[in-house]
Amino acid sequence: MALRRVIIGLAVLSTAVLLVSCGASGGGDKAGSGEVKGDITFLTNRTDLKTDGTWDKYIAEFQKIHPGVNIKVEAITDYEGDLKTRLSTPNGYGDVLMFPASLTPDQYADFLEPLGKTKELASSYRFLDIRSFEGVQYGIALGGAAQGVLYNTEVFQKAGVATLPKTPQEFVAALKLVKEKTSAIPLYTNYKDGWPLGSWGGYLVAVSGDPDIQNKMAHDKSPWKEGSAIYVIDSLLYDTVRSGLTEPDPLTTNWEQSKGDLVTGKIATMMLGSWAITQFQGAAKAAGVSPTVVGFMPYPATVNGKQYVPIGGDYNLSINKNSSNKATARAWMDWLLHKSGIVEAQGMVSAILDAPLPANLSALQGNGIELLELGAAPVGDEALFNNIAAKSQVDLLGPIYRQKLVDIARGQSSGDMTSYFKQLNSSWGATVSELAK
């Protein structure tokens, strides 16, 4: 009996292994060859849109055009975490999926279906570069967001900040006014949750006005020198923490709670993207405050009289390379991009070039403010910036090294800004000489 079970078990196991290896070697049909019908699975990080029935609504509309299509939506709370393991099974990550952030550009082709030549797509879409490798596109952003500063308009008024700060010095001065005149925490870093600190790396474009700044940094052996983009960003963080303009105990910050605290005037500013505006307006409604308290301004830096607002794609849509129903997958993806109206509903910057800006950003254009997208890395260097950040363990787009910077500024870790920047330069520089050609 036991033996039989073991044999059956082994048989099942070996079949599974066989199937997996088959799938890995050649599975999936060619995109565009099939008809638009049958079942597909859609993996998304937007659990909220599943709970409130938005996805079901979209699917019903899609089915009106393409009857006979069934779309199963899997909304995953820990999207990146789950995807890391699911990617190891060829058919384990659905047919249409949100682009897994853990893939490095040189891995795109191993997992995802090419969507076309980047050059050709560039005439109709924004935000292509980040998901392009060797001229081939593997993901198209569902929408995008602008990186800036969220602030409480009433707190600024109360503190007497009449004009929005346009340089780091003006910003610090404004925060000092807030501290003096109100009881609000001038700048909330969200140190404990970490990722908001990681997004500070996104301001490189704002501070330099240079779309190629990441690539330049990837070849710079000592980027933390006075006046450089990353120096401006990190020294602003250091100075605000040092002057006590941030939360008193950063170890106990709480992202969910911080939304309510900003709209009720307990927090004055937070460094965030425009994607957060709708969430904060929601928090305002929940707290019984007018949603107009949520203001959005460009990062306080001016280059040659201009302020740049970095815009970037949010989650990209992509298609599993091993999908057995690529035609339907592509149809669903295109429909979401062009016909669904999800971008307007979510207040995102549309990935389609001709589409108008969302209402929450239209006020930004003009007044010497320009939206600027991160440029493409040269062919062959697509993964370089990220690889240097990983190898040198200076996670430029992650929280760890900035948390340490905050600790140093609070006097809780040894050293000062100069010594820490020197240390960062040596780690970064050593990796640059190792990896950059």
Binding site: M1, L3, R5, K192, P248, A390, R410, Q412, S413
Partner: protein, 335 residues
């Protein structure tokens, strides 16, 4: 049991007196019955063939297979990864030999976090002392002793994540801890997590709170396995409680104490849950395991992280071995 009954019944019916024949008939009948039931394999049991020898192995096979599949195979895989520069996704690009190990031992940053383990190591002694004290006290006849045993063991049953969150609220500025302290006149308490000179004590304290129950139960079980006649004899001889502890209880549970030490040291080297949930390793609370996790998933260097894990495994093995030397596993004779 039933086989024997049916055998003797059949013998009775066929009326065979000769025991030899009876035995034969018994086995043949049994054979037929087994055939009918479809247990062809079992019939060999009587003949003493291959199957009876195999049976125990088959029972063990399921467990061994799972063990191999879920423990040893991943461990072997990890060992293999540690010789590569794998990023955690996609194919393995390059075999780098001992490079990763070289990095583990030459990068001072990697080993410096073992300093944090010292807090938990000291915490482990506190934990053993508390656990032993309560185990000894509650092994005597005390009012509500079962109730107190339950209370002390309870934290160990709670999920580590839940404990992390509970203590996070406890340690918040103006949180539970500060409120209670203010009743006793302590108006300016430190930031329990925000102050780098305090945070590791807070975390080690949380860890002690959580694991005291486990040590307590181990000690209590060991104490209760000491024959009660020894206590009686000691009391008749006029020994006091301290003398009973020193001469009977302590030597009686020496082995368990040794085991607890090994667990504590291994535990303090590989602390993970409490600091990871409460601080994420920030503010100088990073431990070796948190660092390994960050190297693997934040810095995408699974190869290096695997090497770190292997090194940790070897360190724990060495520490356990050294400890076994000190606490030699000699038989304790209480009489």
């Amino acid at each position: 049991m039933s086989v024997v009954t049916s055998g003797s019944a059949s013998a009775g019916i066929s009326g065979l007196g000769n025991s030899e024949i009876r035995k034969k008939g018994w086995s043949r009948r049994l054979y037929r019955r087994e055939r009918q039931a479809g247990w062809s394999g079992r019939s060999l049991l009587i003949g003493g063939g291959l199957w009876p020898k195999l049976t125990p192995y088959l029972f063990v096979a399921a467990a061994v297979l799972l063990l191999l599949l879920l423990t040893y195979l991943p461990a072997a895989n990890m060992l293999w990864y540690s010789f590569t520069d794998w990023s955690g996704l996609g194919p393995i690009k390059k075999v780098v030999g001992l490079d990763n190990y070289f990095q583990v031992f030459t990068n001072p940053h990697i080993f410096s976090v073992f300093g944090v383990s010292l807090y938990y190591f000291v915490g482990a002694f506190v934990q053993i002392a508390i656990a032993m004290y309560f185990a000894v006290v509650l092994s005597f006849k005390v009012w509500f002793s079962n109730f107190f045993r339950g209370i002390i063991f309870f934290p160990y049953l709670i999920n580590g994540v839940a404990i992390g969150f509970v203590f996070l609220y406890l340690f918040q500025p103006h949180g539970t801890m500060d409120t209670i302290l203010s009743w006793f006149g302590m108006t300016s308490p430190p930031q329990w997590l925000g102050d780098a000179s305090v945070v590791n004590f807070s975390l080690a304290g949380t860890s002690v709170w959580r694991y005291t129950g486990l040590n307590f139960v181990l000690f209590l079980g060991a104490i209760q396995s000491i024959p009660p006649t020894l206590y009686e004899a000691a009391e008749i001889d006029g020994a006091n409680r301290w003398q009973i502890f020193r001469s009977i209880i302590f030597p009686g549970i020496r082995r368990i104490i040794g085991l607890t030490f090994i667990l504590s040291v291994a535990g303090s080297l590989s602390v993970f849950e409490v600091p990871f949930i409460m601080t994420g390793g920030a503010n100088g609370t990073s431990t070796f395991v948190i660092q390994t996790l960050q190297v693997a998933f934040n810095y995408r260097q699974v190869g290096l992280a695997s090497a770190m894990a292997v090194v940790l495994l070897i360190i724990v093995l060495i520490v356990s071995w050294v400890q076994r030397k000190f606490f030699a596993d000699d038989e304790v004779d209480l009489t």
